[in-house]
């Protein structure tokens, strides 16, 4: 079979699977599925940032900026919800642009901790200022997505399935944009900035501008993920975006591997299913963090190149076999 045909069948199969998936799940699993879809966008946007070699610990707070902004626009200013989501994403990108001035004076470990501090300051501001952020209790009763009908399917956003389909479209579109960015000349420059920053600089690349650009784009998509979350759960507070979720994002990316586009997504899906579904179903409620911690340790010890390396090895072996068969046929 020609490679292109196999590939389009694989894509079609994936789409059918994703569309059919919620119908085989319980209500609570459907809810987990919505969160998982949103987290996929979060971790994929995080990867765009890591392309330039900087690891941020403020990404989840930036997601929260999108959530707070979109919730406030819709609630206080009466902005139509899908528009407020986009405005939330833009706000997150603008906040990231402002933060990039102090943060990109630092590199490596200093940037890691500096971004953590910047994020924590934002989170504490939400906590401290009741007006307009609602203080420690956060914002409640956020306007839900208005229901609508597209002929063959009517969206009722109190149903997780409807919101899942909506999120799937938004996240799918965003992933496609992120993928195009990575494959564009700009994306290739991000790689250059990571691996050869001195060389890139001497070739006339404004390294800091590209780092900022990656940070701003990644933050915009993180903000969009936050807005999706806010209008789904209806309540957000400063603790929804604390360092615990950030640690999860970091581990998804590292356990999945960041060399490929799908690595972090793979890490997010596999670890979330293990943690939220398998360990819960097996009745390990209290031991869940223990087992999750052991899984993290084992995965970095025994799979240092991430889950993606398993997929890559499999593909390479299969391609190798196909080549060999072709060779023997000829």
């Amino acid at each position: 079979m020609p490679k292109a045909a196999t590939l389009s069948i694989a894509w079609l199969g994936l789409i059918v699977f994703l569309l059919a998936l919620p119908h085989g799940l319980s209500f609570s699993q459907q809810e987990i599925l919505v969160f998982l879809t949103i987290n996929v966008l979060l971790v994929a946007s995080y990867r765009l940032m890591t392309l330039t070699g900087e690891w941020s610990l403020g990404h989840v707070v930036i997601m929260g900026v999108g959530a707070y902004a979109s919730a406030l626009y819709a609630k206080q200013l009466g902005v139509f919800v899908p528009v407020s989501m986009l405005l939330g994403a833009v706000t997150a990108a603008l906040i990231a642009l402002a933060l990039s001035y102090p943060l990109f004076r630092m590199k490596g470990f200093y940037f890691l901790i500096g971004s953590f501090a910047a994020g924590e300051i934002i989170r504490l501001l939400w906590k401290r200022f009741r007006d307009p952020f609602g203080g420690p209790k956060g914002i409640k009763k956020i306007n839900p997505m208005p229901d609508f009908d597209i002929g063959f399917y009517s969206f009722d956003f109190f149903e997780p399935v409807s919101y899942y389909y909506f999120a799937l479209v938004v996240v799918g579109g965003s992933l496609w944009i992120l993928w195009r960015i990575e494959r564009s000349p700009v994306g290739l420059t991000f790689h250059a900035v990571h691996w050869q920053d001195k060389l890139a600089q001497s070739a006339g690349v404004n390294v800091r501008a590209y780092r900022t650009l990656a940070f701003v784009i990644a933050s915009g998509f993180a903000g969009l993920a936050g807005a999706l979350l806010a209008h789904y759960i209806g309540t957000i507070n400063p603790n929804s975006f604390d360092v615990e979720l950030m640690v999860f994002v970091l581990t998804w990316a590292i356990v999945g591997g960041t060399a490929t586009f799908y690595g972090p997504i793979l890490g997010c899906v596999v670890l979330s299913i293990l943690n939220e579904v398998v360990l819960r179903e097996l009745g390990f409620e209290q031991m869940r963090p223990l087992i999750y911690g052991l899984i993290l340790i084992c995965s970095v010890l025994f799979l240092p190149k991430g889950l993606e390396s398993v997929v890559q090895n499999y593909l390479r072996r299969r391609n190798g076999k196909a080549m060999a068969e072709k060779g023997s046929a000829a």
Partner: protein, 289 residues
């Protein structure tokens, strides 16, 4: 007003003492092994639970409980070095994730063994030193201050005067060159990990009677310790102590005169300002980290 200032300064001195014990251990581990130990706050927590078990439950002497805490947490540190950080020596991000995984394991073990409720540790002594009507220093807090001064001085002497100390500093400066001089990196890593973990354990054990001991107590300590080592300059032990004192002064005063959340915001903002002005911290050098 003067008395309030004096009292706040004493409180800050106490905070600076246990914070510098934690931060110096963190710096030592980072300096020698190049890994950020996210589980450092949980080593602090282990030390505190050592006091819960040996002092509060088994009724042994407080200082004996602390000594056991030091050795036990130090041994946990040795175990971490052997099982996690040595296999991941060339993989700093892997070391980071492994320490996060270990943090979750320790928290879960503490929650399973002791429950998530805070433990009550009876006060070691009710004695209070009164400087005036309104300026007091509880003796348990004095113990923390004395322990910090003694232990940090001993560490300083060990690093500057003994051969092990020389080896340790050499491998912190340049691991490859040190290895070429016949210094065993495994050996220096073991020592650094034992000392670093032990200091965190002692800090946790000494403060146990004065704080709420619970499985998640390490979180606020590690955040403060990160701020301190960044402001001091990663890899600089002197910087960590100076920054611990400065941070504790600012944090305690702002907490006293405003509130705790504003104090956290001010502390974090000061750290950002230091990083903006000098991106490698006050005592840091450019090539490290």
């Amino acid at each position: 007003m003067g008395e309030l200032l004096a009292q706040t300064a004493l409180n800050a001195l106490y905070a600076a003492s246990y914070l510098s014990l934690v931060a110096v251990g963190l710096v030592l581990i980072f300096g020698v092994m190049g890994v950020i130990n996210f589980a450092h706050g949980e080593l602090f927590m282990l030390g505190a639970y050592g006091v819960v078990v040996f002092y509060a439950d088994l009724q042994l002497s407080f200082f004996f409980a602390i000594a056991i805490g030091l050795v036990f947490v130090g041994l946990v540190g040795l175990g971490m070095e052997r099982a996690l950080f040595r296999p991941l020596r060339d993989n700093p991000l892997g070391g980071l994730v492994a320490s996060i995984g270990f943090l979750m394991v320790l928290q879960a073990l503490a929650a399973m063994g002791f429950g998530v409720r805070m433990e009550h540790v009876p006060p070691v002594t009710q004695q209070v030193i009164s400087f005036s009507d309104k300026v007091h220093l509880a003796v348990p807090r004095l113990y923390v201050i004395i322990a910090a001064v003694v232990l940090l001085t001993a560490l300083w002497a060990f690093l500057k005067k003994t051969q092990f100390g020389w080896a340790l500093r050499a491998s912190a400066q340049d691991p490859e060159a040190a290895a070429l001089q016949g210094i065993s990196i495994n050996q220096t890593s073991r020592i650094a990990m034992f000392i670093g973990a032990g200091l965190a354990g002692v800090a946790g054990a000494l403060t146990a009677p004065m704080v709420s001991v619970n499985p998640h107590m390490g979180h606020s300590v590690i955040v403060a310790a990160f701020i301190v080592i960044i402001v001091g300059g990663v890899g600089s032990l002197e910087g960590a102590v100076v920054a611990a004192v400065a941070y504790s002064l600012v944090h305690t005063f702002v907490t006293t005169f405003y509130d705790g959340v504003i104090a956290d915001i001010v502390g974090l903002s000061l750290m950002l300002v230091v990083l903006i002005v000098k991106p490698t911290g006050l005592f840091g050098t450019a090539d490290r980290a």
